[in-house]
């Protein structure tokens, strides 16, 4: 009986630990997706200007780059081991090649540092800034994102 209750306690503990870690992973997934949504939205704002779908506005463009930079901070910390499962497009390579993944993040933030310090003053400068920043999207998504649909 005592054995049984011990077993039950262990099982309960393990189940709790599992639940806690999967909750943590679910949180990490939704947090990083929220950050990525902000990045996507901000890219959309400057992208529409670059593409000629909306008028160039230096202040709005700068704000979009600042928002992107803020969202990018701490992004790489939101990939705890085991959070590559579930509703996520995180590629397995993130967890097997952390150094490579983090290097892409460093490049991205560096590009954003540059455009937020020297804010693009006209459409041409904005297009160039978007090219520099945007190259980092594909560079990271090449190996570290898997599209599932």
């Amino acid at each position: 009986m005592k054995f049984l209750s011990k077993a039950a306690a262990t099982t309960a503990l393990a189940a709790t630990a599992f639940a806690v870690s999967s909750v943590a992973n679910a949180d990490a997934i939704s947090d990083r997706q929220a950050k990525m949504k902000t990045v996507g939205k901000s890219i959309g704002i400057v992208g529409k200007m670059a593409k000629g779908q909306s008028d160039f506005d230096a202040a709005i463009a700068l704000q979009a780059f600042v928002d992107m930079k803020n969202a990018a901070q701490g992004f790489e910390a939101l990939f705890p081991d085991g959070s590559g499962e579930g509703k996520t497009e995180a590629a397995p390579a993130i967890f097997t090649d952390r150094a490579g993944f983090e290097a892409k993040q460093v490049d991205f933030v560096a590009a954003l540092d540059k455009v937020t310090v020297a804010a693009p003053a006209d459409l041409k400068a904005l297009q160039a800034s978007l090219r520099d920043v945007g190259a980092n999207c594909g560079a990271c998504h090449k190996a570290y994102r898997v599209k599932k649909n």
Binding site: G40, I43, G47, K48, K51, G134, G138, H141, K142, V146
Partner: protein
Amino acid sequence: MRRLLITSLVVVLFGAGVFWWLTEPKTAGNEVISWLDKEGDVSKGKTVFWAGGCASCHASKDAEGDDKLLLGGNHQLVTPVGTFNVPNISPHPDYGIGSWTVEEFGNAMLFGTSPNGKHYYPAFPYTSYSGMDFEDIKHLWVFLKTLPSVETRNPPHSLSFPFNISRGTGLWKLLYLNASSVLNIDDDPVLKRGQYLVEVLGHCGECHTPRGMGGYGGLDKSNWLAGGPAPEGDGKIPNITPHESGIGSWSEDDIVYYLESGFTPDFDSVGGSMVSVQQNMAKLPKSDLEAIAQYLKAVPPVASN
């Protein structure tokens, strides 16, 4: 009994002979070779090089910038049939194609036949390149000759049975290698150029079109560009027909902008193996990207599977 044995032996030998004859690696006729003698143009060759996406496989996997011109191979394609170790096509005389003749190069591009008369596997998309203009082969050849020599010796492919039988590829080619175009286009020069870039040089169909025979066969042209499972790794290759489950909502400008910048109309970014394809495409003249966009709008819309 003895008679039966002899008869079956004859049948088997005859069958083997037919197999051998049918799967013989093909090489170019005089018509092709006469073109290959013409003068090549390096700058035209450069366009063919980027449109053809050579660097996506023949440069190392994470090559950026000028490193994309180092065609030493050093890149593995991991597929369900095994691992392809991409060969060195730099001008290195021993490990690359430095000692090849232009005829040998033409045979590789058009027929998937190596200088020593072996079949190449269709991981090398000669199935698309077989429709190349002969002069483009010459342009590409002279351009490749200008690139740095790379001293990388790549290991042979490591494939599972029966895919490791070279003559099996000969059989596969008999069934699936033909240079005919997919879409019938009259004489609209822009659409024709788009067709050439998509169907031939860009070999877009090799990934964006599903294959028959459980994924091992040729392209299922009734589902041309309708997407399918990724030939390498996880994930799916998107439908790029003008269907609503494809890129029907994209304008021609959207397609051009995507190929230039890597951004979809929703400003999602290019990813996976398309990243290097997009980077190659961004190097083409805008008129070529517009031709691709027109062609993609002209293909029949097909629902994703």
